[in-house]
């Protein structure tokens, strides 16, 4: 007998429909799975057999062949377990084929027959063409986000078969409500002092300008970075779905309502590998931290401690907004529109920065700073030194401006950017700068002097003008950019370590 059950497998952040074909025939008892299964997928033989026996079903002592079509696509993970189990039941005649008609199944099976969640429910159920999709009970909310038809759940295989036969009613699908309150993000009001640092995070949030903070340990770099997601506007529904798909595919826990509505904040450790950061690996190519942070903040603490080729791998995705990962058998595209925020110490001892402040040998300092390649540093529109705050500020009673006030300005500035037809000012094409960011005469003179002194390159000039545009938008949004904004933009893009003049 033959059974055909639809399901899906994951490749990158996209689902691929898979048809599970089960054939049971006379012959020596055997159970083979063909169609390029990976290890987790091949192991489903043992899970399916135990789950069926635990559910009180008979295991046919016959020759069982499972084909996962299309057979040229690699299948990974355990999401096909349930479809294989039902296929065996149908092919063996334990279940009527019509009972499972126009239904797809995506779940892993426990040895006791329990249905378990698998990563990537959102993209998996999105590609299923059947009218009904059956998933584990805790996946119902996710499945509902992308699947066009009906979502049904079952706790165990036994329960599912009873429902399919019509012996029992389908269990209710409970959709928990969305979280009413945004996730708890530390407030900017707690930050004392750090006038320049506060300005830098505000500009970064308003214009989506990548930010590099350099300062001694304990000066507040991480504190400032963690407050950045609170300044970003909530995700639009299209962005939210894109982020949710990536998070679901990577198996990252989703919020209660299923949809990720707030900008994600990802802070991978500096030992991260290339694959963990940009994605790839395994048969189904998991998205990396860069993609998990899409439409949010990717925070790289201790930037100079990262493995150099790994962070250099971020250069091209930062420019394009997507990561294209290619392997011998497949190539996938992940979203990668992040706001990159990085922090590093100025030198190995951490105390450097101001000229002559630390005992590190100049060559050692130079080598430390050079760990971050020039082209990557060039991607940072904002490079600011973060000093230890003033003692009076630290002990003084008054905190700074609260996140809500700053976020309102950020939202207004982003609205200005949208009027120009870009998502944020960092995306303004250089050809349009003269049109959307004209300079006053004094501001132009200031830039001319920087260019003539050799401190600013052509590309640097464009970046400074975009930052100045953002600063102007944050302060009421005149059409013409005044010299004060340009002067501050230049100060937000300094060589953060006093090193350059004396060492070649």
């Amino acid at each position: 007998m033959l059974a055909i059950i639809p399901s899906a497998t994951l490749l990158g952040v996209e689902g691929r429909p898979v048809t599970v074909e089960v054939h049971v025939s006379n012959g020596l008892p055997a159970f083979t799975i063909v169609g390029l299964p990976d290890t987790a997928c091949r192991e489903s033989r043992d899970r399916v057999r135990s789950a069926l026996l635990s559910g009180g079903f008979a295991w046919p002592l016959k020759r069982i062949t499972v084909n996962l079509a299309p057979s040229g696509v690699r299948k990974g993970g355990s999401g096909l377990d349930l479809a294989i189990a039902l296929g065996v039941l149908v092919a063996n005649g334990d279940l009527d084929a019509d009972a499972a008609k126009d239904m797809a199944f995506v779940a892993e099976l426990g040895l006791d027959g329990r249905l378990r969640r698998v990563p990537g429910i959102v993209p998996l159920t999105a590609v299923v063409a059947s009218a009904v999709v059956v998933v584990a009970p805790d996946c119902a909310t996710e499945a509902r986000l992308a699947h066009d038809g009906q979502v049904r759940v079952a706790t165990t295989l036994k329960e599912l078969v009873e429902c399919l036969r019509g012996d029992a009613p389908w269990p209710d699908v409970v959709h928990p409500p969305d979280d009413a309150n945004p996730p708890l993000i530390a407030d900017l009001a707690d930050v004392r002092g750090h006038e320049l640092g506060r300005l830098a995070v505000e500009v970064a949030a308003a214009g989506n300008h990548h930010l590099l903070m350099v300062g001694p340990p304990g000066s507040g770099k991480t504190m400032l970075a963690t407050r950045l997601p609170g300044l970003l506007p909530p995700l639009t529904s299209a962005q939210a779905l894109e982020v949710t798909i990536v998070h679901s595919a990577a198996g990252v826990p989703l919020p209660r309502g299923g949809l990720v509505r707030h900008p994600p904040f990802r802070a991978p450790h500096h030992s991260s590998s290339m694959v963990s950061l940009v994605g790839g690996g395994g048969a189904y190519m998991r998205p990396g931290e860069l993609s998990l942070a899409t439409h949010g903040v990717l925070f790289l603490d201790e930037l100079a401690e990262f493995i150099a080729p790994v962070i250099d791998g971020l250069r091209q995705p930062l420019e394009e907004g997507v990561v294209r990962v290619s392997r011998a058998r497949a190539s996938v595209t992940f979203p990668a529109k992040v706001l990159l925020v990085a922090a590093m110490n100025p030198c190995p001892c951490g105390e450097g920065g101001p000229p002559g402040a630390c005992p590190c040998n100049e060559a050692v300092r130079h080598r430390y700073v050079r760990r971050v390649s020039g082209p990557l540093v060039d991607r940072f529109d904002l490079r600011v030194p973060v000093m230890r705050p003033n003692v009076d500020d630290l002990l003084g009673a008054a905190g700074g401006e609260a996140t809500v006030c700053v976020a309102a300005r950020v939202a207004a500035a982003r609205a200005c950017a949208r009027e120009r037809g870009v998502e944020s000012n960092s995306e303004i094409p250089s050809t349009q700068l003269d049109e959307v960011a004209p300079l006053t005469r004094a501001a132009a003179a200031l830039l001319r002097r920087e260019l003539e002194a050799g401190r600013l390159s052509g590309r640097g000039l464009h970046r400074v003008r975009r930052v100045a545009r953002t600063l102007c938008d944050l302060h009421g949004g005149d059409d013409v950019i005044a010299d004060g904004h340009v002067a501050v933009a230049l100060q937000l893009r300094v060589e953060p370590v006093a090193i350059d003049r004396f060492v070649a």
Binding site: G193, H194, E195, L196, L199, G352, G353, P354, P355, G356, A357, C358, P359, N361, E362, A363, R365, V384, P385, M387, N390, L446, R449, D483, G484, H485, A487, V488, L490, Q491, V494, E495, P496, V497, A498, I499, D500, R501, F502, V503, A504
Partner: protein, 373 residues
């Protein structure tokens, strides 16, 4: 061997021989005219002369074998052509064109290679700024400052173009665009060492003069550097040591300077700093300490201490800018945030005021830090 070769060609060819140090070259060229010296070496009879043999010391048998073997493959005319193509002038001791500043020295190089304008050597005052290659940030800062201020005051900076203090001093001199800098190097003038000093190297050759006694193509062998140091000592009126460990190349230069009666001055450092061990010892031994360029200028007799320290001439900035300038003038470099706080103005106003001060030459920035010039 063509008879039409100028004497310089034989000079280069002799200098290009392996195991040819300054003393041996001097002995050879003192004994014979260049063409005859080359003929003697090529014919393997140079070592028969007892003065030359004495200069070769215990190595004489090895030297004889090596010279005789290598000389066969060296074509003097070709060597001279190679120098000329690299823009390197060759001067023989005692001939016209040889730098008179070196000629008077007892250990003057018999063959001297020059790139750039040799007349720059005749600067009215020359000061060597030397120090360790692994310098500290304040040391580099001071070397840069001394180089800049002295060059601006018309004093030529002599240094070895090594990593660290040497290069910082020359960068300062180049930044001032004052008196022409003088570089004395240990490798051939077409072999840049260390490679990342290539820019300074080229700039010194452009604005001043580069000297070496190594022939074109000579690698930076360790033995050439102490020999190079004696030329630095010889060319300088005063030798200023910015930072030095208890022993090292700088201390060898000091020794050569003392032998030649040149004044040695040293920059005092923290007694706990290894990089200042040598300079502090020099001061203990009686060298004049250097606090800034004025101390050196006074020692040169170009100015008097009574004129006082501080800026002369221009009126200081007035009003708000003046207030900001006095904040900067306290000495330590300050960042924008601190300046804005003490200036009691917004970041934008402070940044603009700083830009004005910089444009007028009152303030300078180093990375994110500002200080008065």
């Amino acid at each position: 061997m063509s008879a039409a070769c100028p004497d310089e060609a034989y000079g280069v060819a002799l200098a290009a021989l392996p195991m040819m140090g300054p003393a041996r070259l001097r002995a050879l060229l003192a004994r014979w005219a260049p063409a005859a010296a080359w003929a003697a070496v090529a014919a393997d009879r140079a070592l028969d002369d007892h003065i030359v043999a004495a200069a070769c010391g215990r190595d004489r048998h090895e030297v004889r074998a090596v010279w005789a073997r290598v000389a066969k493959h060296i074509e003097p005319a070709h060597e001279l052509q190679r120098s000329e193509q690299a823009g390197i002038a060759v001067h023989l001791l005692g001939r016209a064109g040889y730098p008179p500043e070196l000629a008077a020295d007892a250990e003057a190089p018999a063959v001297c290679f020059v790139k750039g304008d040799a007349t720059h050597l005749a600067s009215p005052a020359r000061v060597a700024i030397i120090g360790t290659r692994s310098a500290t940030a304040p040391g580099l800062e001071l070397a840069h400052r001394l180089g800049r201020d002295l060059a601006a005051a018309g004093v030529s900076i002599v240094s070895g173009l090594a990593r660290g203090i040497d290069a910082a001093a020359h960068r300062g001199a180049l930044a001032a665009a004052g008196a022409p800098p003088i570089g004395v190097v240990g490798s051939g003038l077409d072999v840049v060492y260390p490679a990342n000093n290539a820019k300074v190297w080229a700039a010194v050759a452009e604005c001043g003069v580069l000297l070496s006694e190594a022939p074109p193509g000579a690698p930076p062998s360790a033995w050439r550097f102490p020999a190079r140091n004696r030329l630095i000592a010889c060319l300088a009126d005063i030798v200023v040591v910015v930072e030095s460990r208890a022993s090292g190349g700088s201390m060898l230069t000091v020794k050569e300077a003392i032998l030649r009666g040149r004044q040695v001055m040293a920059v005092p450092g923290a007694v706990s700093s290894a990089a200042s061990e040598g300079t502090n010892q020099l001061i203990y031994d009686g060298c004049c300490p250097v606090r800034d360029s004025l101390d050196v200028l006074v020692a040169l007799g170009l100015t008097t201490a009574s004129r006082g320290r501080g800026r002369v001439g221009r009126p200081r900035p007035k009003g708000d800018d003046g207030r900001l300038f006095s904040l900067l003038d306290a000495g330590t470099p300050l960042d924008l945030e601190t300046l804005a706080r003490n200036f009691e103005r917004s970041l934008a106003e402070t940044a603009l005021a700083l830009d004005r001060l910089e444009a007028q030459g009152w303030a300078e920035r180093n990375g994110a830090w500002w200080q008065a010039t």
